[in-house]
């Protein structure tokens, strides 16, 4: 008899385990939304005006491949550019594709910077791609992206 009870309980545990993912999904929907909810595509269109960006080796994006703490992920973007009055990097945009608001920061540079580089630290909620979009003074857009594995999420 005891053995039978044991199997009954085991079955009950298994069913709860099967249902629980559904419960966690419901919780996901209840999660508070941030002040700016913006998807990656909407952000890309807002930045480039629907033109899109070309992946380029001129843009070097330095992000750790595995981030143990999602709350502090160092990001460095460097662009090969002479930074003269006629040819310079206008802006660097850093985006995190899966965050609630994908846009992290827009940096508007001028020739007075002398070197097109920007570094900061961002929060990542989940394992995702980090993308840098670079706007040049001639109106073209370049991009670079890298996947970052996040062990502990940094949002919420």
């Amino acid at each position: 008899m005891q053995r039978r009870d044991f199997f009954k309980q085991l079955g009950a545990v298994a069913t709860i385990a099967a249902i629980s993912p559904a419960i966690s999904f419901a919780d996901e929907a209840k999660k508070p939304k941030g002040p700016n909810d913006l998807s990656f595509k909407a952000a890309l269109d807002a930045i480039t005006g629907g033109k899109g960006a070309v992946e380029s080796s001129k843009v070097s994006l330095k992000v750790p491949e595995i981030a143990e703490n999602g709350a502090v992920v160092p990001v460095t973007v460097e662009v090969e550019s002479p930074m003269t009055d006629s040819d310079y990097v206008k802006a660097i945009h850093i985006l995190a594709t899966k965050n609630a608001n994908t846009r992290c920061i827009d940096v508007h540079l001028t020739p007075a910077n002398g070197k097109a580089m920007f570094a900061t630290r961002i929060k990542l909620g989940d394992t995702q791609d980090v993308t840098a979009i670079v706007a040049l003074s001639d109106g073209t857009f370049l991009s670079a992206s890298q996947n970052v594995k996040v062990t502990i999420g940094g949002c919420g």
Partner: protein, 111 residues
């Protein structure tokens, strides 16, 4: 308005006129996303994040930044700048609740 701790760092420490130096600006700021819940009261902590930063050198705007909530707590902004004579380097920043602060530093090139 309460004062916020912030710091401007220029590397290398001594520089010449015309040299390109690394400038970083750090600010002690919670960068609250508005998505986090208080663990005891279960209430959502309202959003409060730095939303714009401006670097100026002798009154000329060098770099402007639009910032959103996904920057880390106590954010750091690092970029390069060309030294162009003696003067003042200043950083103005504001946050989503309307706080505006300024921090400045004297620029003195050697030689």
């Amino acid at each position: 308005m309460s004062s916020r701790k912030s710091l401007i760092k220029i590397k290398p420490n001594s520089y010449k006129d015309g040299e390109i130096v690394k400038v970083s600006f750090m600010v002690m700021h919670p960068m609250e996303t508005g998505m986090r819940k208080d663990k005891t009261t279960k209430e959502i902590i309202p959003a409060k994040y730095v939303n714009s930063v401006k670097f100026e050198y002798n009154g000329k705007v060098i770099t402007t930044m639009n910032v959103w909530e996904s920057l880390s707590t106590n954010p750091v902004f690092t970029t390069y700048m060309k030294i162009n004579g003696e003067g003042k380097f200043s950083v103005t920043y504001s946050d989503s609740t309307g706080e505006v602060h300024e921090k400045s530093m004297k620029i003195k090139p050697k030689g």
